[in-house]
């Protein structure tokens, strides 16, 4: 029996089959991928192998031996504690360190001077380490990298960060072993290939732990007063309170931070006795408070926590008995993940309640249940050609030891993300960094990277180094201000645009408290507690999630096939369907419904393909563009997961629309590119790109003045690139990302081919239908126009300040 197995025995734990498999594969020098849910003992499955190998070799390793990358800082502490315990028992001389953005400077220096045996860290922190001059020496003894929760990283730019770090480490450490840990996902093979790189020496281990998940729908008693639109769902508050009462502890998942704040307040208003046993958890709340909430959950000190995706991951909260999902979770994978936060005791079932916030979401409830039955889990689409992340990475190397372009090119192109990066674009990137453009110009003083005497590219000066170090990372935060009590104590952060609308003396709700604004001082919002009952709820600009393809399919199926079944959900929906059928229809599988009606706001035309927000956004742009080719017209558009709306001041005729075959998949991407050029999609994408690639600098902490002359919005960059340098790769990246991630290019083609087979049903209605309601009341819109700007302006008017009226 080996020492790790003995240690398991001493803990009275049973070694699971997948753990043994991992240990064996590791001892054979293999890389690998482990698919296992949280709380299953996956951490030991890998650390076990690493520790076992060391304890056999009898020679104590010097320097950093194992690197453990986790997406969540909060998870790091947990993993450090668990592993240090095992390692100390087996070999007391080995240390496991933790380095994240939260690690104090003194500790970081210590970790750098005396590297621990194992280091737990985040993708961002790995890059910070690579930006160190001595990093080659630091990583010299490294033998294994483990990437935890890979499914969370894949499909994000942080995933690209991990890819770049791995190909780079492989290039300096031959025979580096790489292991990934991931929950189940649709595209497992690809996920493995991206992480492990082109190697045959790997194993895939499946932990065959199937958690049973029970899904319940929360239904309104009567549908009459249940709203056709909305996103709060507070009508069902009494039922939620009952569930809270019944269980030891409950997690309530909301989709936005604003929704989270609102639910917290409404619960307390309704049940004041919850005070002291209710808490809130979201990404803008101060770290200390979040840690306290997590700790209290584990200690069973809290009965209910209202949270956002901030609690989707990681930390094991054994006492949680129940979860409630408010509104659409947008994907089966996420729903299962959230349900999995409950019922952590061995053999316990996970239990989740789905709370629809408006009528249409009831259909979604049916779809989700079907999805769980058939285990249809989404793919994660990896990013390709992320020039912004690459530019940041090259800068990171340049501020440290410098880099040799030829060597780095070989490493970079061995990654999945940059496999197709040709010499021409590589040269473009180098020119961008060295000369700031592609052609030499007179009078130009551009300075960023300069080659040293050995041909290594290095940062041109200290200021550039400093600015880069301060703005590294791919998680982009807006212009956030910290919230602080007058007497001290941080509460969290809030976006500048919200707070700029408030005047001193105004109150707002945050972190479960009502606060009064005293003043804004040096990027800090100074507040005091207020006794007012009602206050503004801040909104955070977050990306809107879109339905996954699976959920969209399941929804269509549920709508078309199950609507006549006597499930509870469809019984409740009957009155809504009845209203819908008065002037319109509930479309059959082979029909595409289009509705038209007029209101004071203009002429509404609604389309219901049920393909998800992202596809609808693109489709709306495309339709608007194609219609605008027939005659000059301006549209404003709205979209949700069920359909989209084109709103115009003039009506376009159904005949013109139907006769011109506007749904044709021919010239699809040409037309989309044209419609996107005059729309907002690429512009929004560009914001992150500008920040990641270092174009936009957010200022030194506490030194806002010095960098003021260098501050500029990403919008301005977008404009000048569009006007003066349209072949700029970063500008092009914004367009490409819009295609691939904003609109799901691959799926789009399929959807249009399917639409071509469908019968179009055009219904003229005298008033808005239940299906249309969430769309026509949506205030987040984009526009497309084929009229000249001057013609449009002549029809427009000013938004007047309210006080003037």
């Amino acid at each position: 029996m080996n020492s790790v197995e003995q240690w398991f025995k001493s803990q009275n734990w049973e070694v699971q089959a997948f753990q043994k498999q991992c240990w064996k594969a590791y001892s054979q020098g293999k890389s690998g991928m482990l698919h296992a849910p949280t709380g299953s003992g996956k951490t030991y499955a890998l650390w076990g192998g690493i520790v076992e190998e060391i304890s056999r070799s009898k020679i104590l390793p010097k320097g950093l031996h194992a690197l453990w990358i986790t997406p969540l800082r909060a998870l790091g502490v947990e993993i450090q504690n668990a592993t240090q315990k095992m390692i100390s028992d087996i070999n007391p001389e080995l240390q496991v360190g933790l380095r994240t953005a939260d690690t104090p400077q003194s500790q970081r220096t210590k970790l750098l001077k005396t590297p621990p045996f194992g280091l737990i860290t985040t993708p961002e922190s790995v890059h910070v380490l690579l930006g160190n001059k001595e990093h080659q020496k630091y990583f010299k003894q490294l033998r294994v990298v483990v990437v935890d929760e890979w499914h969370e990283l894949l499909g994000s730019k942080r995933g690209v960060q991990v890819e770049l770090a791995l190909v780079y480490l492989r290039s300096i450490i031959p025979n580096l072993r790489v292991w990934g840990i991931s929950a189940t996902l649709g595209n497992k093979e690809l996920a493995r290939e991206i992480l492990l790189g082109p190697t045959d020496n790997f194993t895939v281990v499946e932990a065959k732990i199937q958690k049973k998940i029970r899904v319940h729908s929360l239904l309104p008693k009567t549908m009459e007063r249940f709203p056709w639109r909305g996103h709060l769902g507070t009508q069902l508050l009494p039922q939620v309170l009952k569930i809270i009462e019944k269980n030891k502890s409950t997690l309530i998942f909301t989709n936005t931070r604003a929704q989270c704040e609102i639910w917290f307040h409404r619960l307390l208003d309704e049940a004041p006795n919850l005070a002291g046993s209710i808490a809130m958890h979201h990404g803008s709340i101060d770290k200390k408070i979040r840690l306290w909430v997590e700790e209290s959950l584990r200690n069973e000190a809290l009965k209910v926590v209202v949270c956002t995706s901030s609690l989707d991951l990681g930390v094991d909260f054994s006492p949680v008995e129940n979860c409630i999902q408010i509104g659409s979770p947008k994907g089966i994978g996420r729903f299962i993940q959230r349900a999995g936060r409950s019922g952590h005791q061995p053999k316990a079932e996970s239990s989740i309640y789905f709370l629809p916030t408006h009528a249409m979401e009831l259909i979604e409830s049916v779809a989700l249940q079907n999805g769980i039955k058939t285990q249809q889990i989404e793919d994660r689409i990896p990013y390709l050609n992320c020039y912004d992340v690459l530019i940041q990475f090259l800068m990171t190397l340049a501020v440290g030891a410098g880099f040799e372009p030829k060597k780095i090119y070989a490493a970079v192109t061995s990654s999945f993300c940059f496999q197709a990066l040709d010499q021409e674009r590589w040269q473009w990137i180098l020119n961008f960094l060295i000369r700031g453009s592609q052609s030499l110009q007179q009078y130009d003083e551009y300075k960023k990277l300069i080659p040293d005497e050995n041909g290594l590219l290095k940062a041109a000066n200290k200021n550039i180094t400093l600015r880069h170090r301060l703005s590294m990372g791919t998680i982009v935060s807006g212009n956030d201000l910290k919230i602080r009590y007058r007497k001290g104590g941080y509460l969290g952060s809030i976006e500048e645009w919200f707070i700029s609308k408030l005047k001193p003396g105004d109150t707002f709700a945050f972190s479960g408290k009502i606060l009064e604004l005293i003043r804004i001082h040096k990027m800090e919002v100074i507040v005091k507690k207020s006794k007012v009952k009602q206050a503004k709820i801040p909104a955070w600009m977050g990306g809107r999630m879109s339905f996954s393809a699976h959920l969209s399919d399941l929804l269509k199926k549920a709508l078309f096939e199950d609507q006549n079944k006597t499930t509870r959900e469809f019984q409740s929906l009957a009155p809504v369907f009845e209203q819908q059928k008065k002037e319109s229809i509930v479309p059959k599988p082979d029909e595409l419904l289009i509705e038209r009606f007029e209101t004071k706001e203009g002429v509404h035309t609604l389309f219901y393909p049920f393909e998800g927000y992202a596809i609808h956004e693109a489709m709306a742009n495309l339709m608007a563009y194609r219609i605008s080719l027939i005659s000059p017209i301006s549209f404003s558009m709205s979209f949700n997961d069920y359909g989209f709306e084109l709103l115009s001041d003039q009506a376009f005729s159904p005949e013109a629309f139907l006769d011109n075959d506007l749904f044709t998949p021919e010239y699809l991407f040409d037309d989309l590119a044209k419609s996107i050029n005059i729309s907002e999609m690429a512009r929004r994408r560009f914001r992150d790109i500008a920040l990641i690639s270092g174009l936009v600098f957010q200022g030194y902490p506490n030194k806002p003045v010095k960098s003021k002359h260098l501050q500029s919005g990403s919008q301005l960059f977008f404009e000048v690139f569009k006007d003066y340098e349209p072949d700029n790769l970063l500008y092009q990246q914004a367009v490409e990302e819009t295609f691939d991630h904003g609109m799901e290019r691959g799926r789009m083609q399929l959807v249009f081919e399917e639409l071509g087979q469908k019968t179009i049903v055009w219904k003229n209605c005298s008033q808005p239908t239940p299906f249309s309601f969430p769309l026509i009341t949506d205030r987040i819109r984009s526009k497309l126009s084929s009229e000249t700007v001057e013609d449009r302006i002549k029809k427009m008017y000013l938004k007047l300040e309210k006080a003037a009226k």
Partner: protein
């Protein structure tokens, strides 16, 4: 677009400049020369071509009317001196007319440098019934022409359309000019009922009415 203030005639030009017919003078605010160069010097790759637009714009403006003088309403240069200065110097030497610079908050290049080019540097400037300044000034009794703000407005139309455009912002005693420079951005203002707004699309200047 022509407007009259205190019996004087002013042309609001789509470029963002104002031509004062009686005095044959151009008023230009917030040119921010050298902004692109300043960014580039610090390793931020703004397209180099964006910078040249000032001289291109002037080539279009100058032949339109007889010109005796240009009054720069502050923020002529964005930051410290850089190579842009030499371009500007060369341009100034070719021009036959007078120039006045009202100092703005970005103008940190010493006055004597401008004066050595024959440019008159002032904190503000009074002429006839008018007062020229960089910062908006509500206290002055005379009518104020100023910059600094980079004003813009949000327009809304039927069908929830929205568009943001730079504008000439005229209130009862003051007119704020849009920024003349490229790569400058706009600051969105909310007009009051008595304000008059002239937006520029860079092709045309249009007066916008509010909706009642």
């Amino acid at each position: 677009m022509n407007i009259e203030i205190h019996t004087h005639q002013f042309v609001l030009h789509p470029s963002g400049g104002i031509y004062w017919r009686e005095k044959q003078s151009w008023l230009l605010a917030d040119v921010h020369l050298g902004k692109v160069a300043h960014f580039r010097k610090n390793g931020i790759a703004v397209p180099r071509n964006a910078e040249g637009s000032f001289y291109q714009k002037m080539e279009i403006l100058l032949p339109l009317f007889p010109v005796k003088r240009i009054i720069f309403l502050g923020d002529l240069f964005h930051s410290f001196q850089n190579n842009e200065w030499y371009l500007f110097k060369a341009w100034v030497k070719q021009q036959p007319f007078e120039m006045i610079l009202i100092v703005g908050n970005h103008d940190i290049i010493p006055n004597w440098k401008f004066e050595s080019l024959g440019i008159l540097v002032q904190k503000h400037w009074k002429e006839g019934p008018f007062f020229f300044a960089h910062f908006p000034d509500q206290k002055t009794k005379q009518f104020v022409f100023c910059g600094h703000v980079h004003p813009g407005v949000t327009l809304t139309g039927v069908g929830k359309q929205q568009i943001k455009l730079p504008c000439f912002y005229k209130s009862s005693h003051q007119l704020i000019l849009p920024a003349f420079g490229a790569f400058t951005g706009v600051h969105i203002l909310k007009p009051k009922a008595e304000d008059r707004i002239y937006v520029t699309t860079s092709k045309e200047v249009l007066e916008i009415k509010e909706k009642y």
